[in-house]
Symmetry: C2
Subunit: 141 residues, 2 copies
């Protein structure tokens, strides 16, 4: 299933960093930066050292990209993803704790969402107000 021990040859296409960056819409530098910060490690490397990424990792990067607007720092995302990994892992004991941490992050995400929503409302009114002022043939005088 998720971890097919019966399939020794991982024939899944592995991409190198350029492909990945292009697909996700990040620069090579940024992808390496994220790695440096512990956000994702390439699944493997070529003999020569080229990074090789799986499709899952591309998804992970996309996830990261979606998370940013929530105002999470790289470090937070790092911890969050790590918790998620554990929560999906095999170790029953660790999973509970990891899920708790995940819940914690989920809650924070929800808070950020609310904040975002409020900001959006404010900003919406503000944008309208701007438009009004811009298009008013003559101000209130």
């Amino acid at each position: 299933m998720a971890t097919p021990a019966s399939d020794p040859t991982p024939a899944r296409t592995l991409l190198q960093i350029g492909e990945v960056a292009e697909r996700v819409g990040l620069s090579l530098r940024t992808v390496r930066y994220y790695e440096e910060q512990g956000l994702l490690t390439p699944e493997s490397r070529t003999a020569g050292g080229f990074r090789l990424y799986s499709e899952d990792q591309v998804d992970r990067l996309l996830l990261i990209k979606q998370m940013k607007p929530l105002g999470f720092t790289v470090q937070e995302m790092c911890e969050l993803l790590e918790a998620r990994d554990v929560a999906r892992g095999a170790d029953e004991g660790d999973r509970a704790a990891a899920r708790a941490r995940l819940a914690n992050y989920a809650e924070r995400a929800a808070e950020r969402l609310d904040k975002l929503r409020r900001q959006l409302r404010d900003a919406q009114g503000l944008a309208e107000q701007l438009r009004d002022e811009a298009t008013a043939t003559a101000p209130g005088r």
Copy 2:
């Protein structure tokens, strides 16, 4: 008019920076920083140099605070506010151009809004997903 020459004593309460900062919810430092960047100049100063702000300027600061979430840089807000000032000003000729610029900013604000909305949607799904993973009694196994 806007400048009542017949009222020599501007009895409007002027606040000094501490009051202003507290009301708006910014630090003194930030208020001074905004001034440094050209966002707002205190209406006047005491003989000794203390900054004095009008109520209008408090509003302006609140406006600025609401604008930030839209991703405008301080410089952009600076230009925007300046355009607004001119658009409200007396000079008929300048007003047209200023309103055009304002419209430009309004449009950009609208774009940012859309972007915000999209991000919000993404993030919303993401937060749910997180919650699901966190609360799942057992993952898909």
